[in-house]
């Protein structure tokens, strides 16, 4: 509180006693005024006491007239100790003086000068201690004059603070001045309050030019804003946000130039409020450096990013600090996934280790060792796959220490190539070493680069003696030159010209010896440029061969030309490769017209074909087959005319394969002669060969000169075995003698005697056996003299026949005479040529009475006809039809009586005639017997028929009255049952039962009687179907008994369909009826035991039958059981038996009581050989309806 709150107006202090603000007035006014003053005074006193400052009022004399409690406290006095005292006691100096009116001014003026200002003075306490004070004077008009009120403030603390402040300010200023950075302190208004020398330098101002100026003068933007307290934050908050951060701004110098600065703000509390200290750093250089760095960094990053290799920078801890896009790609990571990660993540082994600073070396040394070398390692991708890498390390000094930059190259492809190359190299080396030829690889400089073992051998060097050496060492001439790149062509072109051709050169061995070689060049691209691979072949042998060949060729050509025959040499394609002058003449061609032509032009057929290699043989084989044989062919001249030639082939091995040399001889003349001779000869031979008899031509010496095939056959010789031989070899006796010219006659005469007659002699075969022959001789004039042709006929058969005939004749006559039957031999004319005694007896004739007579005299009908050759058949055929069968005819005796005969005919060939021998048997007795039999049978049949007729009629006619009895007793039973007494019922029941049984018996009898004659014809039927029908008929019984009926395959048989059904029905029915407990199992089957018969079996598992009854059960009315056990008429099996026997079969039974029975019966099979299948039947599946 200052005194300003008091309403006092300064008045002139010269007028003492004037009370402020009052005027003398009337008493009433005074009272009010007095009250007012008292009031005011009280208020004034209150205020005074309450004031926080010490309040001392001093009169113009400088005496304290008033003071408050505070002042008491301040100065340590009691009020009454101070009132009236000089103020100097408490404020020694400074106060009083200020109040003195002196010559220059009045006290009022003096005071006026002080009013409002805080005056710093010293206060003195009671105890004598001093303390600084700040007084504020203000006048106070009073009656005593102008008083001075001094508000006294103890400013000890402030003074201390000020001192401290001054200290720190000094310190601060010291720092400030000393700071490297410019320091500028700005107040809340944004004015600079302080700055240091550095700031002066930075901004180019004097201190006083800046203090009090807006800081925006030197930092146009960015600073003031940051400090502004605005609606959103206070200056303090604004500042707080900036504290600690270096803020980059732009400074503006006095000369207007700008430069980059970084300011660090910090608050400074002061009396003036919060000041902001800004430490300003001129960052021009840094900025430049940064820019440069940024630039470099940009450039560097660019390079890094652009680098083809992955670039990874690793720190000393092995952590990745930097990597480029390529590295990202290589390893499949994003940059941020790798930065800070251990490089081991991407290069598991080999990298980190190399960088480790360990006991032996520092990381730097470790790195230094790696610098510059490409190290092959394995990279590990994000997906865990690995790939080969090559890293090049280089150090990078940085603030973080030495970093290692690794340029990482993915060498997968290179590795593959290396592998492939190694493989190829291996392979190649293998090939090289394995090559049969010497292989030498030469570089462009003509130096041997590579060679194989074979080359070593060829040239007698070891590999290392040759590698690097000039190839001219081993191939003196011809190789290097061919490869030289010269003005006209490059090495590659030079090489290209050589490629593919075998070049003959001379090789030079280590020992100096030379040998012919053939080289084949081929290019080989390599890192070192084009290399030449030469395959070197030692052609010494070949050269020798060539030389030899040339020699031979010369010799040969000589021979060829000198040959008397035409010589033509043909190659495998049939082309003429060589011919001689003679051949030219023969074929009338010039040599050059034929060489290269197909040999077919001169020998159209026969030559080329013989040489053709086809599927079956090679040309060589084909040729081999021809070698040595003179082959007759036809040659064709240039003019087209043909002439016969004979060629002799021989092979000629050559480079071109097997050539064929043909020596060709013109055989025209010879051919003509041959032809003529051949003609004659063939004519003659024709005749000879065609002759049915053997023809042998014998010369005067008795040697066989000619013979035909027939004679070969006759004597069992081959022609060549006989020609030249003595005829006595084949005709031991009788021939040669006849021909000998002896003293009695000439050969001719001898011969003449023989001519025309057939002479029987003996021929001797090759095997020594003899045979009868008949020969007819005739002469043959020839150059060799008179030859004798003998036609030789093998008369073995004839002789045999004759012999046989004689034999047979004898035998026959014997048999004939001895035969029990009459024997008559008849010729084709039906005339008796022979007969025996028995036939004489039979017919009552003498032999001579019958011989020559027609056989119809004794056998009027039936014989002759059978023998007649007529339009439809020959006598032989006619006879053949009769042979073997006994023919019943009638014989006629001399006395005219007839008798029954049976004749058996047989043929008899004799002397070209077919005779018939008839054995004639008198069958009178037999005939009688037969007649008897027939009669008996007829009687039997008749009686059978009568019997059956009777049975039929009986049954049929019995049925009628029986029906009456049965039907009416049933009606009775039906209508009157229960109406009469029980006896009547019983009686009626018996009657009905009897009638029914009678009916069944009669039915069965009827069936039985019908089996024989009234059955159907026996046809081929299916027994399977018959069984089906039988089962159908038995369906009721089957259902009732639950019987299971099965069957095997059942055949076709010759049978009466109805009866077979009946048969099976009876047998199966029986099997069902006579069952034991449980379900009856019945099986029907058929087997065939080779004969044309089927044996059927009906097998059951029923009661069985005791053996003693096996026969009886097939009899009529035979029953084995009582009527109340099983019903039945006892006819069933009798009917079965009759049916089976009617079919020509037999029936039987096998049985074991308690086990079951099997009934067997046989039936004739049909032509079909296998049974037709029949489905298995049982109760469930037997068809109904």
């Amino acid at each position: 509180m200052d005194l300003g709150s008091l309403s006092t107006t300064p008045i002139e202090i010269d007028q003492p006693g004037t009370r402020p603000g009052t005027a003398i007035a009337d008493p009433l006014a005074n009272t009010i005024a007095e009250k007012h003053v008292v009031q005011m005074e009280a208020r004034y006193l209150g205020l005074l006491e309450a004031s926080p400052d010490g309040m001392v009022v001093v009169n113009p004399s400088g005496e304290i007239v008033l003071l408050n409690a505070r002042a008491e406290k301040q100065f340590g006095y009691r009020r009454d100790e101070l009132l009236g005292q000089k103020v100097k006691s408490i404020i020694p100096e400074g106060f009083a003086e200020r109040l003195i009116a002196d010559g220059t001014r009045t006290a009022a003026e003096a005071l006026a000068q002080q009013i409002g200002t805080g005056i710093e003075l010293y206060g003195r306490r009671k105890n004598g201690t001093e303390f600084p004070i700040d007084i504020m004077l203000s006048p106070l008009d009073s009656a005593e004059g102008i008083l001075v009120t001094a508000a006294i403030r103890d400013i000890s603390r402030r003074k201390d603070a000020e001192m401290h402040l001054a200290l720190t300010a000094a310190k601060y200023r010291g720092l400030l001045e000393a700071a490297p950075d410019a320091m500028v302190v700005v107040d809340q208004a944004g004015e600079v309050v302080l700055l240091n020398a550095q700031a002066e330098n930075q901004f180019g101002y004097h201190r006083d030019e800046l203090i009090g100026q807006r800081v925006t003068n030197i930092i146009p933007e960015g600073f003031a804003e940051r400090l502004i307290a605005d609606g959103t934050r206070t200056a303090a908050e604004a500042l707080a946000q900036q504290i600690g951060t270096g803020i980059e701004l732009v400074g503006s110098r006095k000369d207007g130039s700008e430069f980059p600065i970084e300011i660090m703000l910090s608050p400074l509390e002061s009396a003036e409020g919060i000041l902001v200290t800004a430490a300003i750093r001129d960052i021009t250089v840094r900025k430049d450096a940064e820019r440069h760095l940024a630039q470099m960094e940009g450039r560097y990053r660019g390079l890094l990013e652009a680098a083809p290799d992955g670039m990874v920078v690793v720190n000393q801890h092995g952590e990745i600090v930097l990597l480029n896009a390529q590295a990202e790609k290589h390893f499949g990571y994003r940059r941020d996934e790798l930065l800070g990660q251990d490089v081991k993540n991407i290069i598991p082994e080999g990298f980190a280790e190399r960088l480790i600073a360990d006991g032996t070396r520092t990381a730097a040394e470790a790195l230094a060792q790696q610098i510059g070398t490409g190290i092959e390692l394995v990279g590990s991708r994000k997906d865990k796959s690995e790939f080969p890498i090559e890293i090049m390390l280089s150090p990078l000094e940085s603030a973080e220490g030495i970093l290692v930059t690794a340029a990482i190259r993915d060498i997968t492809v290179r590795k593959d190539e290396e592998r492939h190359l190694a493989q190829m190299e291996g392979r190649y080396r293998g090939l090289l070493e394995a090559a049969p030829d010497g292989m030498v690889v030469v570089n462009q400089a003509g130096e041997i680069f590579l060679l194989n073992a074979q080359a070593e051998k060829q040239f007698g060097y070891s590999r290392d003696e040759l590698i690097g050496q000039k190839v001219t060492n081993i191939i003196p001439e011809g190789f290097a030159e061919r490869l030289i790149a010269d003005g006209t062509r490059t090495a590659a072109e030079a090489l290209a010209q050589q490629i593919g051709t075998g070049i003959e050169l001379v090789g030079s061995r280590k020992d100096g010896s030379e040998f012919p070689i053939e080289i084949m060049l081929s290019p080989l691209e390599s890192a070192e440029g084009i290399l030449v691979t030469a395959a070197i072949r030692d052609i010494t042998v070949r050269k020798d061969a060539e030389r030899h060949l040339a020699q031979m060729e010369g010799r040969y050509r000589g021979l060829l030309e000198a040959a008397p025959d035409g010589m033509v040499v043909v190659n495998q394609r049939g082309e003429i490769v060589l011919l001689n002058a003679h051949a030219e003449k023969q074929f009338r061609y010039w040599r050059d017209e034929l060489i290269g032509q197909k040999v077919k032009s001169i020998i159209p057929e026969g030559f080329a074909e013989r040489l053709i290699a086809d599927g079956t043989r090679t040309a060589a084989e084909a040729l081999a087959q021809q070698i040595g044989t003179g082959i007759e062919l036809t040659g064709r001249r240039k003019d087209g005319s043909e002439f016969p030639i004979e060629i002799m082939l021989s092979p000629l091995q050559s480079n071109e394969g097997v050539l064929v040399t043909a020596a060709i001889r013109d055989i025209s003349v010879r051919k003509e002669a041959e032809n003529h001779l051949g003609q004659m000869e063939s004519r003659y031979r024709g005749l000879l060969e065609a002759a049915p008899d053997g023809m042998v031509v014998v010369d005067q010496n008795g040697k066989i000169v000619l013979l035909n095939a027939q004679s070969e056959k006759q004597f069992g010789y081959r022609r060549d075995e006989l020609i030249g031989q003595k005829v006595t070899n084949i005709i031991p006796e009788g021939f040669a003698e006849r021909l000998i010219a002896d003293e009695t006659r000439t050969a001719a005469e001898a011969l003449a005697q023989q001519i025309g007659s057939g002479i029987e002699l003996n021929g001797r075969r090759k095997d020594g056996s003899e045979f009868p022959i008949e020969i007819m001789l005739s002469p043959l004039e020839s150059t060799e003299g008179i030859l004798v042709t003998a036609a030789i006929r093998d008369i073995t058969l004839r002789k045999k026949a004759e012999k046989h005939l004689v034999q047979m004749e004898g035998r026959y006559r014997g048999l004939l005479e001895a035969a029990p039957d009459g024997m008559v031999v008849v010729n084709q004319h039906g005339e008796i040529v022979l007969l025996n005694a028995q036939s004489e007896n039979q017919f009552g004739y003498r032999r001579d009475e019958l011989i020559g007579q027609k056989v119809t005299n004794i056998i009027p009908d039936g014989f002759a006809e059978r023998l007649i050759a007529d339009g439809t058949r020959t006598a032989a055929e006619a006879l053949a039809q009769q042979i073997g069968s006994g023919i019943e005819l009638t014989g006629l005796r001399k006395d005219g009586s007839e008798f029954p005969i049976e004749i058996m005919l047989s043929p008899l060939e004799s002397a070209g005639e077919v005779l018939v021998t008839a054995a004639i048997r008198n069958i009178t007795v037999r005939k009688e017997a037969e007649a008897n039999l027939v009669q008996k049978i007829e009687e039997l049949n008749r009686s059978n028929e009568e019997l059956e007729q009777f049975a039929y009629v009986a049954s049929h006619d019995l049925q009628e009255p029986l029906r009456m009895v049965a039907s009416y007793t049933q009606l009775l039973s039906r209508r009157y049952k229960g109406k009469l007494d029980s006896d009547a019922d019983e009686f009626i029941a018996f009657a009905v039962d009897g009638a029914n049984r009678m009916q069944r018996l009669i039915q069965d009898l009827l069936t039985y009687s019908r089996v024989g004659k009234r059955g159907l014809e026996l046809l081929d039927i299916s027994s399977g179907q018959a069984l089906q029908r039988a089962l159908l008929n038995l369906s009721g019984a089957i259902k009732q008994s639950g019987a299971l009926i099965t069957s095997g395959p059942l055949p076709e048989v010759k049978a009466d369909q109805v009866q077979l059904t009946q048969l099976l029905q009876n047998l199966v029915g029986n099997a069902i009826k006579y069952h034991s407990s449980g379900i009856p199992h019945i099986h029907v089957s058929a087997v065939r035991n080779g004969l044309p018969l089927w044996t059927f079996s009906v097998q059951d598992d029923g009661l069985g039958i005791e053996p003693q009854f096996f026969e009886r059960i097939f009899g009529m009315f035979q029953r084995l059981h009582k009527r109340d056990e099983f019903e039945g008429t006892g006819m069933g099996l009798a009917i079965c038996k009759k049916i089976v026997e009617r079919h020509g079969g037999s029936i039987s039974v096998e049985s074991k009581p308690g086990v079951g029975s099997t009934f067997h019966f046989t039936l004739a099979a049909t032509e079909a050989t296998s049974p037709t299948p029949f489905e298995e039947t049982n109760d469930d599946t037997s068809p109904v309806g």
Partner: protein
């Protein structure tokens, strides 16, 4: 409407049985009986005592009859223009194939064998009734 049936049967026992059986089967059947072939023809031709005889709708004919055999009767009936339309069934004890053949050849409308058993016989009669006299359409009397 009554059906007029002519039964030609010589065995009185069989006649009675047949009558009984038809009576059981169908009460509206009127059975006329003659016992030989001649009487049968007289009946059909309305001769003599049969001058007023009804023309039968249906004829049951036995084969083995005295005087005029059933086969003859059949032949005559089927040879008569006016009579041949009457369905004529052979009802006989014979099951001989020859008889069957002959009957059909003579144009019998049906051939039935009299079963031996009574109930079978009754069944046959029933079936005659069921088929011929109930199901089948008979020509109207003219």
């Amino acid at each position: 409407m009554t059906i007029q049936v002519l039964l030609v049967e010589d065995s009185p026992g069989d006649v009675r049985l047949t009558k009984e059986a038809f009576r059981e089967a169908n009460e509206s059947i009127h059975l006329h009986v003659v016992s030989d072939g001649l009487e049968a023809m007289a009946f059909l031709n309305r001769k003599g005592i049969y001058a007023n005889a009804e023309r039968p709708d249906f004829i049951l004919l036995d084969l083995n009859l005295p005087r005029m055999d059933g086969r003859e009767v059949l032949a005559t009936i089927k040879g008569d223009e006016s009579l041949k339309t009457i369905p004529t069934i052979i009802l006989t004890t014979s099951d001989a194939e020859a008889d069957i053949q002959k009957s059909y050849q003579l144009q019998a409308n049906c051939y039935l064998t009299k079963p031996v058993q009574l109930d079978s016989f009754e069944a046959v009669v029933r079936s005659i009734n069921d088929f011929w006299l109930t199901t089948a359409k008979l020509p109207q009397r003219r």
